[in-house]
Symmetry: C2
Subunit: 325 residues, 2 copies
């Protein structure tokens, strides 16, 4: 057994947190030889429910779970933390404008960024799941000047997995055989799911799908999948979001598969003309806790246009909260 | 990769089902080399929610999930099924007497027992989680005469795990080092959590705990743990129940650990004087899909008395639904 690692989950008593905590504690994120100390953060009114989660975690008697800390204090939750999954965020309430939502979440992620800066392990790797995820990650990073900005990421893996699942049905092949999917941009309805580089058994799928299907079926289906699930379940995606978060952290830390890549929201370095200063989803290759943006992919005019649309949205989000950066 | 196995989950859109489906689909029950076909059963009004679960399962793009079938028809859900986890049951409503609850569930499990008999693989292994679990398993088995009664079991693994977790805190040792816990009897408040044979590092723990602590703290704590969690969460145990169900099936099929045993509700064969005709939790050793009750354990007078109390409750439950057997 290795030394235990400290993993922080915020919003840990919520629906996503309730899925995430048990899958991480059972060893699914970092493997059966990696003991975990869970550090769970909730807002004060949710502490009784969080205590119930802690009781259930104990009752699982997981061999990979060394300890659980439950708190409403961000400084405690991020103390010495090496991995953090920031799930808790303010949901959009009735009558709330997009800008109100950005501002409300900006406060949360400013506070958590500072707590990370002041308390966490300097090598901490952060995944933001709570929406607006890309801009929340930008704010958290800006408030944590002592942590490498590359260590702040936003989740587009759920969109990436959804796109693969959708292609798997369309092409009638196992999702494991579908490689080199890309989600570009924002984890929002402007995201651009790009299949131009997708292969099945090292062969492009372009002959098997039409432009019309892509534009009128596939792209809107991926962009709107979250809303479809809310309609069916009466609640937003929780288990699949938790699963994507595990995939994101697992691949970041243990490496992405050979001859493939994954999508992650990361600080733009100017690749593909996306100006720095925003967290944008790119195709990345991961190895031993670091990642690099895949370079030199050819982009059609259609792709470039879609990539600009989602970049523009992220710029607007940035402008709305710029005084906090 | 092996050939896929068919796993049925009833009540699959409920809280336990929502945890169970994803952990099984991700390979945690039978391992990463065992592809799964999930067959999910729900009552008709829950089909939209179940459809949401199916969408999310697809969106996880699990390498171990080959297919998902969602239905409100028990015959479809159990068709060729090799493993079934029966979670769906009627919860106790306001003003409902214990006997009403037994009768309401008896109908459900009579119907499902017949559907298993008529449709499932003849080697199907069944775990009943829905309460009253022991007696529900008895009814299901009685209505499936073509399936070996030994293949019907009830879950006391959650109680077993809870007891280990509680001892782990008391003795300040990892739960992995606590071996030979026993839950005797019914998965109800009469269950008897017996620590007389428990070892840590092959040494009895009897010197470290007092009779008084056992009787006034430990035993009631395990018996009432479910109620404690409801109080904290405002909802009954879901993630820990799902986790225990995975442990139960995993160990049954792949074997329990060396120099240890697990607790499972199984048909009494008369061991320890428990008369046949009821499903009673015993310590069992599992290997390659079969189990044997651990024999020749010495029992104190106190233990024998507690074992009779929970046996008596199971006899009464049997009497209440006897016309259905």
């Amino acid at each position: 057994m290795k030394n235990p690692v400290r993993v922080t989950i915020t919003g840990a008593a919520g629906q996503i947190g309730y899925q995430l905590a048990f899958r991480i504690a059972s060893g699914q994120m970092f493997g059966q030889n990696q003991p975990i100390i869970l550090q769970l953060l909730e807002i004060t009114p949710a502490l009784p429910a969080l205590n119930g989660v802690v009781m259930e975690l104990e009752d699982c008697a997981f061999s990979t779970l060394n300890d659980v800390i439950a708190t409403d204090d961000a400084n405690t939750a991020f103390k010495d933390s090496e991995y953090a999954i920031l799930v808790g965020a303010m949901p959009r309430g009735p009558g709330m404008e997009r800008n109100d939502l950005l501002q409300a979440n900006a406060k949360i992620f400013t506070h958590q960024g500072k707590a990370i800066n002041d308390n966490a392990n300097k090598e901490i790797r952060v995944l933001v799941v709570g929406n607006p995820a890309n801009t929340n990650a930008l704010i958290a990073s800006s408030n944590a000047p002592n942590i490498d900005p590359q260590n702040f990421t936003a989740m587009t893996r759920l969109d990436h997995n959804r796109a693969i699942a959708h292609l798997s049905k369309k092409l009638n092949v196992s999702s494991q055989n579908i490689k080199k999917m890309i989600i570009w941009g924002n984890h929002s309805a402007t995201q651009y799911p790009d299949v131009d580089h997708v292969t099945v058994d090292d062969t492009s799928i372009k002959d098997q799908i039409s432009d019309d299907w892509l534009k009128s079926d596939f792209i809107p289906a991926i962009q709107q999948r979250g809303a479809e699930i809310i309609k069916a379940r009466g609640a937003s995606s929780a288990a699949s979001a938790a699963s994507a978060a595990i995939d994101h952290m697992h691949d970041w830390v243990l490496g992405s598969a050979e001859n493939n890549w994954v999508s992650m929201g990361v600080f733009s370095d100017g690749s593909y003309g996306i100006k720095p200063g925003i967290i944008y989803s790119f195709p990345v290759r991961c190895s031993q806790g670091s990642y690099e943006i895949i370079q030199d992919l050819s982009l059609t005019e259609f792709s470039q246009e879609r990539m600009r649309v989602t970049e523009k949205e992220l710029r607007e989000e940035r402008t709305a909260i710029e005084e906090l950066l």
